[in-house]
């Protein structure tokens, strides 16, 4: 007989395999049929969704207003690109499994780049988060903004990674076999599932408690410093992953891709979507990434209309497009509210 928990894991495993296969074929179809211009926009949307949803973990769910997200995005991009462009060819070029150019070799190298990029960004998040999260509100915002810039300036001054010229000719690992969209999908799903699961868990409740009232959370025995730093590290790690994919799709990176403007765009996505709302962040990221492209027919007036639409959105819905609500799994969400009590009563 198969035990209950065993069956649970089998079902879960099969679900994951099914989703992966589905995504794989979907990616294939998209790659084969989509115009490369739209394809690029799609990739960019995915990357910005990851950035916005990961920043939402920090800004929205834990309520720590950070506006230096591009810094961690940069760390991921640079460390990932350093692996494929500098370290792997220099030190491990003869390793049999790490040959680039084959589908398998590319995938392995990309995974290694992702792991390194994520670790580095998480570490940067920890180093930046630990001291700055003692601050609140506007002070925290200023410090994170500053740290984001510090990271960019540090990169700007490391000659090994090209300084102001940046790195170019990064191998397009994610494009082999039409896999770019697949990897981006994977990342987006990972960050969204993590956020959703968090919101339905006890741990998520303590994160929300920190947002609601830090002193009260403290008084309930929540280790608020730990919660804030954890949120910051996880958010930074996902930004790092997004950076790795960016570097390996667009094949060129330079410090100005990760400047303050990028940080502010990501923050705008979170606020516009409705601070705390995962679905809001997804929608706003998609909108803000594709809108400038969709408005190209307006020629010179493009950015004027873009800015105006932002202003109108903020004026008409100051709480963000979604407020703190979620769509899609609404019934699911409602079930959490009751099941939090229901399961406790069981």
């Amino acid at each position: 007989m198969i035990g209950k928990s065993m069956r649970f894991w089998i079902v879960r495993f099969l679900t994951i395999v099914g989703i992966l296969l589905g995504m794989f074929f979907l990616s294939k179809i998209i790659t084969d049929n989509l115009d490369s211009y739209y394809y690029q926009i799609l990739i960019q949307c995915g990357i910005f969704i990851t950035l916005a949803v990961s920043l939402n973990l920090i800004n929205g769910i834990t309520g720590q207003f950070s506006i230096g997200h591009a810094g961690f995005y940069a760390v991921g991009a640079y460390v990932g690109a350093s692996w494929t462009l500098l370290w792997q060819p220099r030190f491990l070029h003869s390793a049999p499994f790490l040959q680039m150019g084959t589908t398998f070799g590319d995938a392995i190298n990309l995974v290694i780049a992702l792991v390194l990029g994520v670790l580095a960004a998480a570490m940067a998040g920890f180093v930046v988060g630990l001291p700055s999260l003692r601050l609140r509100g506007d002070y925290l915002a200023i410090v994170t903004l500053g740290f984001g810039e510090v990271i960019r300036i540090v990169v700007l001054n490391i000659d090994e990674v090209g300084g102001a010229r940046g790195l170019s000719g990064i191998p397009t690992l994610v494009s082999t076999g039409g896999m770019a969209v697949f990897w981006v999908f994977l990342l987006v799903i990972a960050v969204v599932v993590l956020s959703k699961n968090l919101l339905q868990s006890v741990r998520g409740l303590t994160w929300l408690a920190v947002r609601e009232d830090e002193i009260a959370a403290d008084a309930m025995g929540v280790n608020t410093t730990k919660v804030k730093v954890t949120a910051f590290v996880i958010g930074s790690a996902f930004a790092g992953a997004a950076g790795v994919l960016y570097a390996h799709f667009f094949t060129g990176i330079s410090p100005d891709v990760f400047d303050m403007n990028t940080s502010i765009v990501i923050t705008t996505m979170v606020v516009l979507g409705g601070t705390g709302s995962v679905t809001g962040a997804i929608l706003a990221a998609t909108l803000l990434t594709s809108l400038p492209e969709m408005l190209r027919f307006l020629k010179d007036y493009r950015m004027v209309i873009y800015s105006l639409s932002l202003i109108i959105m903020m004026l008409t819905r100051p709480q963000g497009l979604f407020g703190t609500k979620e769509i899609g799994w609404k019934s699911f969400h409602r079930r959490r509210r009751t099941s939090a009590g229901g399961s406790a009563a069981a």
Binding site: L205, A209, A216, D218
Partner: protein, 235 residues
């Protein structure tokens, strides 16, 4: 149970507590009364670890706790309802209570029976179980704040101004509830502006003035004391 000796606290350059000492024994209700700025809330915050004292000792059940962070202090059995209630406004009443017990949420049966106890103590909260806490009235929020603090299963409960901003008839019932909680074996340290009510339910009282304890007596004697009557009971 709790012994504070020579506790001195500064906020920047401003001295909030000047070497105060006080004691709370097992099973008592002890109240601190005094004007605004006398240092009542600062004392509570020092005990609960939200403020670091400059010098002095806080001993709880034989162990010094003045260096412990706030979340550790909850775990050793000191619960608190902070000043101004501070309920989690966007969470439901039930979620607020669950957060009080968050360190032991795995024990679902135990937590849920504790929540039921809170609903027996505060029937109004039962009616509002699925409502978000921000929509409750001031009195109900105060009940929730006390309930949430009790969910941490404290042996010592710190209450900071529980009657603040409540309608008079609610004040009565809040004090009645505090007395009930105490009868169930929870020691209470109560900070109150409403000295009259506080002294009526307390065993002992401390009168604080500008960071000093100026009087420490049984509540009964304090209620009879002429200076106290003039200064704090409005007679």
């Amino acid at each position: 149970m709790l012994t504070i000796s020579n506790l001195t606290v500064f906020y920047g350059a401003i001295q909030a507590l000047d070497s105060i000492s006080l004691e709370v024994n097992q099973g008592e209700i002890v109240t601190m009364i005094g004007a605004n700025g006398a240092g009542k809330s600062t004392t509570i915050r020092s005990i609960s670890g939200l403020v670091r004292p400059r010098s002095g000792e806080i001993i709880f059940e034989g162990k010094p706790i003045q260096e412990l962070p706030a979340h550790e202090i909850v775990k050793i059995g000191i619960g608190q309802s902070p000043e101004g209630r501070r309920v989690f406004a966007n969470m439901t009443v039930r979620e607020n209570l669950e957060l009080g017990a968050y360190t032991r949420l795995q024990k679902k049966v135990e937590v849920s029976s504790d929540i039921e106890k809170m609903f027996t103590l505060f029937p109004r909260l039962k009616e509002r179980e699925r409502q978000s806490a921000g929509t409750l009235s001031g009195g109900e929020q105060q009940m929730l704040a006390i309930g949430r603090a009790l969910m941490t299963r404290p042996r010592l409960l710190l209450l900071d101004e529980p009657s603040l901003g409540l309608a008079p008839f609610l004040v009565q019932s809040i004090f009645q509830i505090i007395r009930d909680i105490n009868r169930q074996g929870v020691t209470v340290l109560l900070v109150e502006q409403n000295a009259n009510q506080a002294l009526r339910i307390a065993n002992r009282g401390y009168v604080l003035e500008t960071g000093n304890v100026v009087l420490a007596e049984s509540a009964e004697n304090l209620l009879k004391n002429d200076d106290v009557r003039k200064a704090y009971l409005g007679e």
